[in-house]
């Protein structure tokens, strides 16, 4: 079936691109080989074919073929990729870019784009050692539906497990954009239930993402900066504080890197002063140094580290 279908679709595209006028379904059936004799069967098949062409991004135009009948054509202007000429250094950059999504969600789209650009005459061959090789991973199952929702401006619902929560909660979101920050994917937008701007990490979405409205029903406010929204969400840190630590001489290199003051002690321990933001994370970091580090102050940080260590003992 596949081969005949490809032949039919190809003929259909050639036919609709060749015609200046709108062609009626009857005219199309007469010109394009491969349609069944029964008119009803033809109609059904033609409907499916039209849908396939649209899915491939082929612009199918409808208009009056006569006074009574509607017809179809593919306007060449809308079909054709505009002229694009790339210098060798630009083509090399493009080849690197096309590999960025390797095997991730948009990898197929990148390959398709490169094919069209090559068809336009671009020689996107490696001319030199690229020197830089970036990769984007989009392993999260939620990426595909959320990108679709952002692209088509559709609201979504999904279950989300916030950091540290054991229960996932239902969320309703008008997604404005997807952002990759430091290797992780986020979606940002308007949370309908909370009536506020929110960002969500894709890896914490539990189960499937469902569309919650037709395409075009989300309006992204002018000037909404999704990147900034995710950055603000990611960096929610209280004001900075300072910790005073005793660090065993010759150890704790990883914490000394962040020190603003270091004083060598006589007893085999040095006093180190380090700024920190979030107490929970910092306590975890400090506890990982085990018996090479002791917190002198502040008291709440000292207690948090002791709690961590007691937890590790249990």
């Amino acid at each position: 079936m596949s081969r005949r279908k490809t032949e039919r679709l190809l003929s259909l595209v050639v036919c609709l691109l060749s015609s200046q006028r709108y062609l009626t379904a009857t005219q199309i059936r007469a010109a394009v080989p491969g349609y069944p004799d029964s008119f009803d069967a033809f109609k059904r098949m033609f409907e499916r074919d039209k849908e396939e062409l649209r899915e491939l991004g082929i612009p199918l135009d409808m208009g009056p073929a006569s006074d009574e009948e509607v017809g179809y054509r593919i306007p060449r202007q809308a079909y054709v990729l505009p002229e694009i000429r790339l210098e060798p250094d630009e083509a090399a950059v493009l080849a690197v870019a096309a590999r960025v999504w390797h095997r991730a969600e948009l990898a197929g789209a990148a390959a398709g784009a490169l094919l069209k650009l090559r068809a336009a005459g671009v020689e996107a061959e490696e001319t030199q050692q690229p020197g830089i090789e970036p990769r984007l991973h989009a392993g999260e199952a939620a990426f595909a539906p959320l990108w679709e929702a952002v692209r088509d401006r559709r609201p979504v619902t999904f279950r989300y497990r916030a950091a540290g929560r054991s229960e996932a909660q239902q969320r309703e979101l008008e997604p404005w954009g997807v952002v990759n920050r430091h290797g992780r994917w986020y979606v940002a937008g308007h949370d309908r239930a909370r009536q506020a701007v929110r960002a969500f990490r894709l890896s914490r979405i539990d189960g499937s993402v469902e569309f919650d409205g037709p395409p075009g029903s989300v309006t992204v406010p002018v000037g909404a900066d999704v990147r900034e929204m995710v950055r603000a969400w990611d960096d929610r840190v209280p004001s900075g504080r300072t910790a005073v630590l005793r660090v065993r001489s010759g150890a704790g290199f990883g914490i000394r890197r962040e020190a603003i003051r270091e004083e060598q002690g006589a007893d085999g321990w040095d006093e180190v002063e380090v700024p920190f933001h979030e107490i929970a994370w910092f306590a975890e970091h400090l506890a990982s140094f085990g018996p090479d580090l002791v917190v002198s102050e502040p008291a709440d940080l000292r207690d948090a580290v002791i709690t961590r260590l007691k937890g590790a003992l249990a």
Binding site: S2, V14, E87, A97, R135, R161, G177, S203, A287, L309
Partner: protein
Amino acid sequence: MTPSRAADTPGPGTSADRLQRLLALVPYVISRKVVGLAETAEAFGVTERELTDDLNMLWCVELRTPDPYCPIDLSYEGGEIVISQAEPVDRPLRLGVDEASALLVALRMLAEVSQAAAAAGEPEGSALSRTIAKLEAAAGEAAVPAAQVAVEVDQNAEHSVLAKAREALATGRRVHLSYYVPGRDEATERDVDPMRLLVVEGRTYLEGWCRRAEAVRVFRLDRVLRIDVLSVAAEVPQQAEPVDVDQGLFRPSPGDMRVVLELTPRGRWVAEYYPCEDVTEIGDGRLKVTLRTPDGSWARRLALGLGEDGRVLEPAALAAAVRADASAALAHYAQ
């Protein structure tokens, strides 16, 4: 639609995939005037037999009205393809939204990395910005949604480190690195012959031939404490195999230690942060994860920091070491 491969379909993928290929094949040949079969098959990722089948299909297109008419004329005699007539489909189809977005997002990500590196004043970004502008123009409206995808690359690495790494790559010179290894909590000194810069999971790495390990190594730039570009030319040996970035930078090797942790909801970040061999939900938001690491001290530090949020189930020796460390540390506080 799932890819089907009926007996009479030689080309890979669905009929939609094949139609796209056919529509690209015609302008591909026309824009090059004459092009070899072998080279074209390679460009399209098909065999020569599949390609000649595609060409035959194009040649056979026939419209029946008003008069029977074959719009496409071509030949591939002697292994050279020439398309003499194909007016309606002689140009490629415009880019779709997904296609334009995939390339634009990738190019803008590259631009961000280059910008960070261009602190030293090299005009590196220019080919990139020209390509972005040309692609935006060619894609037209399809380029618009790409603005709603942003990629932000970690800029924790010192600009000077990235700039020097690029300088060494551009001039083909060896570097000296002072490199922090968190698992061992120490700085190591080594000479490295740079191969490539990698950007994976939002982090920037220098890949190179490490003369101390006599092997290809990957260095996270935000852990480079100092980098000096030496006056010696880099010598990357023939046998140096670049890391297969698509397989992930850190692949477990058979000799690695297998660590099983039980994580509370607060400890779940471990499963997001480190590549896990196995992740199982065990109820109440708790996870059981299996990690592989060549570095026992790294696992020990991880478990110590996690405290009650990550209990070591296996190996028993690691669990005992963590308890011993915790108890020694607590002894300091008891004084």
